[in-house]
């Protein structure tokens, strides 16, 4: 009389093994296709009628902001490889700033208060005796007022940090927006997205996507993201401890 428990286990194991071996031969793993995966719904955008004025008003309002934080990042993709340049820090207009900068993996640091300019490069601090000119980012945006209003879309509101913002988007040739020619008189199709704070009506973010053609390399894709934050009455341009120590060493 065979043990029934034994029979059961053997049967189970044999059938499992049979499934595994037969399936193992015919086991076919496919790369997942889009139709098998749940897709995100595309962003809905509507034509905006009053958005252009809202953008211009926001730019106007930002003109009075003297102390602010800025994070500006530019990503360029050439032949499948991305290269990043970015700055992060605080500015007090007209020309005080504390900014860290990274270009393609190399780090730089600028500190410039009323009296001194310090610059770090390859991990070495130096005092510079010529001031670094800091562009007035608000003044540079005033060109928007001279442009003919573009066909504008409004996107769903976005949350920047914790503040809701209205989002407007338009497409244009970056050459005409910049008001300067590109090399070889090329056109640079671009898409601009402006984020205007819903409560304060300040301009808080600009996003730019564009495509370029580089001879011999094909399409180059550019993406810029500029965030403005920490709008305040007081300057945030202050020395860090590291800089303080470095400055003491620099003194003769």
């Amino acid at each position: 009389m065979p043990n029934p428990m034994w029979k059961k286990t053997t049967l189970l194991v044999l059938s499992l093994a049979a499934i595994l071996t037969t399936n193992g031969c015919a086991w076919q793993v496919n790369a997942p296709e889009a139709e098998e995966v749940e897709q995100e719904a595309p962003v809905q955008r509507q034509i905006s009628t009053d958005g252009w004025d809202k953008i211009l008003n926001a730019i106007e309002k930002n003109q009075s902001v003297e102390n602010f934080g800025i994070k500006s990042e530019f990503l360029s993709t050439v032949n499948g490889t991305s290269h990043r340049a970015a700055i992060y820090g605080h500015v007090t207009l007209p020309d005080q700033a504390v900014l860290s900068e990274n270009i393609d993996g190399r780090a730089y640091y600028l500190f410039q208060d009323e009296n001194h300019t310090y610059w770090r490069e390859e991990d070495v601090w130096q005092e510079k005796f010529q001031r670094v000119s800091i562009p007035n980012t608000w003044a540079s945006l005033e060109r928007m007022k001279e442009l003919a209003p573009q066909k504008l879309y409004q996107l769903p509101d976005a949350i920047l940090v914790s503040f809701p913002a209205e989002v407007f988007q338009f497409e244009a040739n970056a050459v005409s927006i910049a008001g300067m020619p590109a090399p070889d008189n090329k056109a640079l199709p671009a898409r601009y997205t402006f984020y205007v704070d819903k409560a304060t009506h300040y301009l808080k973010r600009i996003e730019i996507d564009y495509t370029d053609h580089l001879e011999g390399k094909g399409t180059v894709v550019g993406h810029a993201l500029i965030d403005y934050f920490d709008f305040s009455d007081e300057s945030s341009v202050k020395m860090t401890d590291e800089l303080q120590k470095a400055v003491e060493k620099l003194k003769p």
């Binding site: 790369a31 530019f74 001879e215």
Partner: protein, 531 residues
């Protein structure tokens, strides 16, 4: 005699289990997530139950010992040789004592396990097991640059299959001994003359040797002589523009006549800082900078080649508005059509008329899915007609129709999926090599995977997969001979696909062992009852 057999079997089992764990078990979990773990648990339990009851505890502990020892040995191998003499006895002592006191496993068994795994590690490192189960490493370079400018340097194939890339030939220390490096220490220079220190550091970062690897000479690493590059040994142009869009390349000879390449920013970092604060002009300014870098690098390259310049220029058919991508047999019986790329648009021209006529087909990109040169024109089903494999997000396969429209055959369900290259095979479907993410895990990590295209059902069917992350820029230099790099690691591999399905063999062996175990238990059970 029986004793020797026991030790031999134990040694074989140790290697088998360590390999099974690396090649089958870990990948299963990486690919199928919790489902994979459940499958592993089931398979493990089946194996456990296949062992006769009296031996179960001993066998399980022995298996555990093998797995622990395999990682211990792996750690030890990452240390210097001197340390290993200390660490191996220590590992043996600790594991041996644990195994003996807890499982009554003889010290001799532990010694066998540690020794055989140590020996295996010398040939196939544990970490590389999943990798080498599908690919044979023909050549593995050293780390070519300890202080590299970019996460990766381009590897380019030149004449006669020679590979070219950039790197430091000597270590800094050797340079000091040779008197090539300024003997003043960094710290002293920082106090005395900071600008000189900055210049020195910049130079160390930006100056590189052009290295060549000759397949005829088993890829021996060599510098290229400046004179050779100047008078004929054409180093590939691909090396020239890797500093895009901020740094241009230039070439010079060092004191000994070796070819040096310098990749240096075209303008001051404060200029870029300035640009980043003016959003409206940013695209145009960056377009200009990219253009300057490319043109400067190209001019310097032509200077280096000297009289070869004319040959180089006539090889190319680019204009400021269109870049030649390659030839594609995109329509049946219509010859090889030249394919160009304009700003965010692919253009296919007639094989005969070329660019004298209008494009026979175009394909425009969008801002979300731009039409970059990150694409392949390749025959995926062996019908002698090319398809278009696009590395957009998500990746796609398209086929050109007679009327000039494109038919989408396949769209990836995973955003991080990308096609790398396609290799035609004699009498077999072409091999499509891609970097594909895990099937179930929600992670962008990609693994090098070989697929074949199934026309019926339009599916990419997996042939094999290598469970090593960050294998990037693989390309074929010859039939069944590939080059690949590891991201953020200045080295490269020359690989050959391995013809044996190690994964399947190991799995089959495991199943056989389990079945054998049940068979043994069954016969033993009968014998016991009849006795």
């Amino acid at each position: 005699m029986k004793k020797t057999l026991t030790y031999l079997l134990l040694a074989l089992y140790a290697v088998f289990l360590a390999a099974l764990y690396q090649v089958v078990a870990i990948p299963l979990a990486l690919d199928f997530s919790l489902l994979g773990l459940a499958l592993l648990f089931t398979a493990g339990m089946l194996g456990y139950l296949a062992i006769p009851k009296v031996n179960r505890r001993m066998f399980a502990l022995l298996s555990l010992l093998v797995l622990i020892a395999s990682y211990g040995v792996d750690y030890i191998y990452s240390d210097a040789l001197g340390w290993r003499f200390l660490e191996f006895p220590l590992l043996f002592a600790v594991l041996g004592w644990l195994a003996y006191s807890y499982g009554k496993i003889r010290f001799a068994y532990t010694l066998t396990v540690v020794l055989v795994l140590g020996l295996t590690q010398a040939f196939v490192p544990l970490n590389d097991m999943a990798f080498t189960s599908n690919l044979h490493v023909v050549y593995k370079s050293d780390v070519l640059d300890e202080h590299s400018l970019f996460p990766l340097y381009t590897i380019a194939k030149g004449d006669k299959g020679t590979l070219y890339t950039l790197g430091d030939l000597r270590e800094d220390q050797e340079d000091e001994e040779l008197g090539k490096r300024d003997p003043i220490k960094d710290e002293d220079l920082l106090e005395q003359n900071p600008p000189t220190l900055i210049e020195r550091r910049k130079q160390e970062l930006e100056d590189m040797y052009v290295l060549s690897f000759d397949p005829e000479n088993h890829y021996a690493k060599k510098t290229v002589a400046y004179e050779a590059a100047h008078s004929g040994q054409a180093i590939p142009f691909d090396l020239a523009y890797q500093g895009l869009p901020y740094s241009a390349s230039d070439w010079s000879a060092d004191g000994e006549g070796n070819l040096k390449q310098t990749i240096r920013p075209v303008d001051d970092p404060t200029a870029v800082l300035y640009n980043l604060m003016e959003p409206l002009t940013l695209p145009v300014v960056m377009s200009e900078r990219t253009d300057i870098v490319y043109k400067t690098s190209k001019a310097n390259y032509l200077d280096l080649l000297d009289e070869q310049a004319t040959r180089f220029d006539s090889d190319r058919k680019h204009t400021p508005y269109e870049t030649f991508i390659g030839y594609g047999r995109l329509l049946p019986g219509a010859g090889e059509q030249p394919v160009y790329e304009a700003n965010n648009e692919l253009r296919v021209y007639d094989a005969k008329a070329g660019r004298d006529g209008q494009p026979i087909a175009t394909l425009a990109g969008t801002f979300e899915e731009p039409m970059t040169p990150d694409l392949l024109l390749a025959d995926i089903n062996g019908d002698d007609q090319d398809e278009l494999l696009l590395n957009t997000v998500p990746a796609k396969i398209l086929r050109l129709q007679q009327d000039g429209t494109w038919k989408t055959l396949w769209i990836s369900g995973k955003d991080s999926f990308r096609f790398e290259f396609v290799e035609p095979r004699d009498g077999e479907q072409p091999l499509i090599v891609a970097n594909a993410p895990s099937l179930l895990r929600d992670q962008p990590a990609r693994y090098l995977t070989g697929f074949t295209w199934q026309e019926q059902g339009t599916e990419l069917v997996r042939d094999w997969r290598v469970f090593e992350e960050n294998i990037v820029h693989p390309f074929a230099i010859d039939q069944d001979l590939w080059v690949a790099q590891i991201y953020n690691n200045q080295m490269f591999y020359v690989l050959r696909p391995f013809p044996y399905p190690v994964e399947t063999l190991l799995t089959a062996l495991y199943l056989l062992l389990v079945l054998g175990g049940y068979g043994y238990r069954l016969t033993q059970g009968r014998r016991n009852r009849h006795a």
